[in-house]
């Protein structure tokens, strides 16, 4: 466990030391890692076949990833290409299959979830209590390490299937 911690610290140091491509869109090492997690979540999630391509990853609220998400743009996952989008209103959520609710918009969470109710959308947050509020996956920082918890009921309601591989890595699975 200590070794993992050291690794993460090392990773963060490396990230900080790397020269940024875009000065204004520089993400913190934490979000850089979380951006990777987002991709991984998508990779281990199945949508109903009615969902077509591209798969749109929407960030609701202030984008904390900088240009990290741009790297995901166009990436192939599960036979679909990946698209990213910044959304600020509930109406915009209609086109999204993955919605990351930023901490800045966490107060809107009940409304957002309500708006997405029944739609095949993977909801992801990184705020304490968000899981119990109804997001499918919630990321948290545990002992300087990114962990995540899964709300299977929420995923089930959203008609999406989370891979057992993903569940195995989850720090908590809410049935």
């Amino acid at each position: 466990m200590n070794r993992s911690k050291l690794k993460l610290i090392l990773l963060l140091i490396i990230c900080l030391a790397l020269p940024g491509g875009h000065a204004f869109a520089q993400a913190t090492p934490e979000y850089r890692a979380k951006a990777g997690f987002l991709y991984n979540f998508i990779a281990f999630t199945e949508w109903p076949s009615t969902v077509g391509s591209p798969l749109t990853l929407c960030v609701y609220g202030a984008d904390p990833f900088g240009d990290e998400l741009a790297a995901l743009q166009g990436k192939s996952v599960g036979g679909r290409s990946l698209a990213t989008q910044q959304v600020g209103s509930l109406e915009q959520l209609k086109n999204c299959q993955v919605v990351f609710i930023a901490r800045s918009a966490i107060n809107d969470l009940p409304r957002i979830l309500n708006a997405l109710k029944g739609a095949p959308v993977l909801t992801i947050a990184d705020a304490t209590g968000a899981l119990d509020a109804g997001v499918s996956i919630n990321m948290e920082l545990r002992q300087s390490k990114i962990a995540f918890e899964v709300n299977l009921e929420a995923a089930h309601t959203a008609q999406i299937n989370l891979s057992s591989k993903l569940l195995r890595l989850a720090s908590r699975v809410r049935q």
Binding site: N40, F44, S76, L169
Partner: protein, 700 residues
């Protein structure tokens, strides 16, 4: 029969089959065992490879999330599952940069720190199998799983399996070998049977033997072939024997009459001569020629002649049949063999004849049968036979000489006027004919009253008077005059006439003695008994019948028997003698000293009197040997309680000598020749003076 190449080891078929079976079986089982081991190894190996590869794939599949999320902890947990598989000694997860991300390793083993490639690959080693399985996500390698499989378990497993296979193969071989041996035996038994049969056939020449059928086709064919071969050999053997028999018949038998031919006859004669020579016996051959046969051949043709010859042959055979013979001694003529020498010449071989005249009897019988007419084309043909006889050893000592002399005798018979028999030697012809004639006369002599008795007085030295006489038979033949008993008694003994003649003698002697007694002359009469009479079981009854009928007291009768008769059958003899003695009949042993009397025997016999044979008396008094013998006999007789009569006393000197030796009775011409019964009483009153000097003494 048994042959083999030099230097080769001789084994039985069973051994050879067994060896071949073992080698074949062994090889087959070895190959099967190797195949089983090899295939088992490859199956096990491949299944291990497959299982390991699947395991690697499953692990790689499950490891993707851990790699993606850089979760070493969960990766470690995932890899822990290999500990359930004892074959797997190590598993490791490598990240995209081929660096080791997580590993689980069994103590004492290791996994590489980094990989050369993330490509899927399998490294085959002697001890390990290494699998590299890429961890894929979205079509890209995000790392690799490395699996290290130890082959030791496989090897151990295979070793056990190989051992099991070998043991199973060995057991299978054992069982199969036993089964094969039984099978072999079932095949070998008929073969051995055939082999034994062949041996039997070749050793015993038994071509009638046959092989038993077999339920194996090939062996059955072999047995059939063998039987066919035996059948053919047997057939040939039979044909060969028949041919031999035919040849033999041709060589030894006359084809017309079926009688033996000249060659056969000569061989048989040679053998019989050898037998006769060893037994000091006699045999005779008859040589017969048909009188006038040539005329029949000439006037009536050869077919008629052949027919006659066949009939002659039949008659000859009939003539020698024992039951057709009026033979005195059939035993003499058993085994008569006929032969046809050729033309009208026949021979008969008579082995073991006692007297030459026996041959003459056969010849006469043949002549009688030949004289009967033959019916030929309703004509009576009368043939006669001329027969020549030659006797072994008198007329020749070998077969060809005998045959030649019989032939000569036959011509002699023809010269005598045909229908005739002649011996080769004239004296034999005459003697044999005489004896035959004599026998014929003898049969009628009793009825014709031609016998008479004479009596020779016996002088009792103690009383100086004639006290007994010996009865002697005389035959007065109307043509031939007096015939000596020496001549006709043996003949009578031979043909059994001695019994009635002896009875007549006994009766006559007893009648005469009784008559003398009635006239006041007490004379004992001595009668000779022949051995044949003595053996007659009726003897005792006959004697007492006659004594009763004539009124003569038994003690006035003395029976003289010879040593031979006494010695012959001790039990019956003794009983007969005792029966006679018990009633008072006197018994004298005649011709004592000429036979083979045993002294112990004499002691047991109930005798009264010993008659010293005249040959001992003849030399007295000068012959010292005879002197000693007579003295010894007298001494012995005195000790045994017998009286002694000396026979053949012819001179006074002899009489005196015998008196000195204390002999009891004297008999001989010195006293009197045998006299008719009527002349006897005149002698009884005479005084006999033995004390006078020999020169001057004259019988009164």
């Amino acid at each position: 029969m048994k042959s083999r190449q030099p230097g080769t080891q001789l084994t039985t078929l069973g051994d050879r089959l067994q060896r071949v079976n073992r080698i074949t079986l062994g090889l087959a089982l070895l190959i099967v065992a190797l195949l089983i081991i090899a295939s088992s190894f490859s199956i096990n190996f491949l299944s291990l490879v497959d299982a390991s590869r699947i395991k690697a794939r499953v692990l790689a599949e499950n490891a993707s999330a851990s790699l993606m999320f850089q979760d070493a902890h969960s990766a470690q947990e995932l890899l822990q599952s290999i500990q359930q598989s004892p074959d797997i000694h190590g598993a490791a997860l490598y990240d995209k940069d081929r660096r080791k991300f997580a590993d689980v390793v069994v103590a004492g083993h290791s996994v590489p720190a980094s990989l050369d490639s993330l490509q899927e690959r399998t490294d085959y080693g002697w001890e390990y199998l290494n699998f590299t399985q890429p961890v894929m996500l979205e079509g890209e390698s995000i790392g690799a799983l490395y699996l290290k499989v130890d082959l030791e378990m496989l090897y151990m497993h295979m070793a056990w399996q190989a051992l099991g296979t070998v043991v199973a193969a060995f057991l299978a071989m054992l069982a199969a070998s036993r089964l094969l041996r039984r099978l072999n035996r079932s095949i070998l038994r008929p073969i051995n049977g055939l082999s034994a049969l062949m041996e039997q056939v070749s050793e015993q020449n038994d071509y009638a033997a046959r092989a038993a059928p077999s339920d194996i086709t090939e062996l059955n064919a072999l047995a059939d072939g063998f039987n066919d071969m035996l059948g053919q050999i047997q057939q040939r053997d039979i044909e060969r024997r028949e041919a031999e028999n035919k040849t033999r018949r041709l060589a030894y038998f006359d084809s017309l009459t079926g009688l033996p031919n000249r060659q056969s006859f000569l061989e048989r004669l040679g053998r019989e001569i050898e037998v006769a020579e060893r037994g000091k016996g006699r045999l005779a051959i008859l040589f017969m020629d048909l009188d006038g046969f040539k005329g029949i051949n000439d006037t009536m043709g050869h077919n008629a002649g052949d027919l006659i010859l066949q009939w002659v042959s039949d008659r000859l055979q009939k003539s020698i049949r024992p039951y057709d013979m009026v033979s005195r001694l059939p035993a003499d003529e058993s085994g008569v063999e006929l032969a046809r020498l050729g033309g009208d010449e026949f021979t008969a071989l008579i082995p073991r004849i006692a007297q030459p005249e026996n041959a003459l009897l056969v010849a006469h019988r043949i002549r009688e049968l030949m004289r009967r007419p033959f019916m030929l084309d309703e004509r009576e043909v009368v043939l006669t036979a001329s027969i020549g006889i030659a006797v072994y050893p008198d007329d020749g000592e070998d077969a060809s000489t005998l045959l030649k002399h019989a032939d000569t005798a036959m011509y002699h018979a023809k010269d005598q006027g045909r229908d005739n028999c002649q011996f080769y030697s004239a004296s034999l012809t005459q003697r044999a004919q005489q004896r035959l004639n004599l026998e014929g006369y003898l049969r009628h002599a009793l009825a014709r009253n031609e016998f008479s008795l004479v009596y020779q007085p016996q002088f009792n030295l103690a009383s100086g008077r004639i006290e007994s006489v010996e009865a002697l038979i005389r035959w007065n033949h109307p043509e031939q005059g007096i015939i000596s008993p020496l001549e006709f008694i043996p003949l009578a003994e031979e043909n059994g006439l001695i019994v009635p003649i002896g009875e007549w003698v006994l009766r006559t002697a007893c009648t005469d003695a009784a008559r003398w007694q009635q006239a006041g002359h007490g004379l004992r009469v001595a009668v000779n008994l022949s051995p044949m009479q003595f053996k007659n079981p009726e003897l005792v009854a006959t004697v007492f019948d006659i004594l009763g009928q004539t009124g003569l007291a038994p003690e006035w009768l003395e029976l003289e028997i010879t040593e031979g008769a006494v010695m012959e059958d001790s039990g019956v003899t003794l009983a007969t003698l005792q029966a006679l003695r018990l009633r008072g009949v006197q018994i004298a042993l005649d011709d004592f000293g000429t036979g083979y009397s045993s002294m112990s025997y004499l002691k047991r016999m109930p005798l009264n009197n010993l008659k010293v044979d005249q040959s001992f008396v003849k030399g007295l008094p000068h012959d010292r040997d005879n002197h000693a013998i007579v003295r010894a006999i007298l001494s012995m007789a005195q000790n045994l309680g017998f009286s002694v009569t000396a026979e053949g006393v012819e001179t006074l000197e002899q009489a005196q000598t015998l008196r000195e030796m204390a002999c009891d009775t004297l008999q001989g011409y010195y006293f009197s020749k045998p006299l008719p019964a009527v002349d006897i009483p005149a002698l009884l009153s005479r005084d006999w003076l033995l004390d006078e000097p020999a020169a001057t003494l004259m019988p009164g």
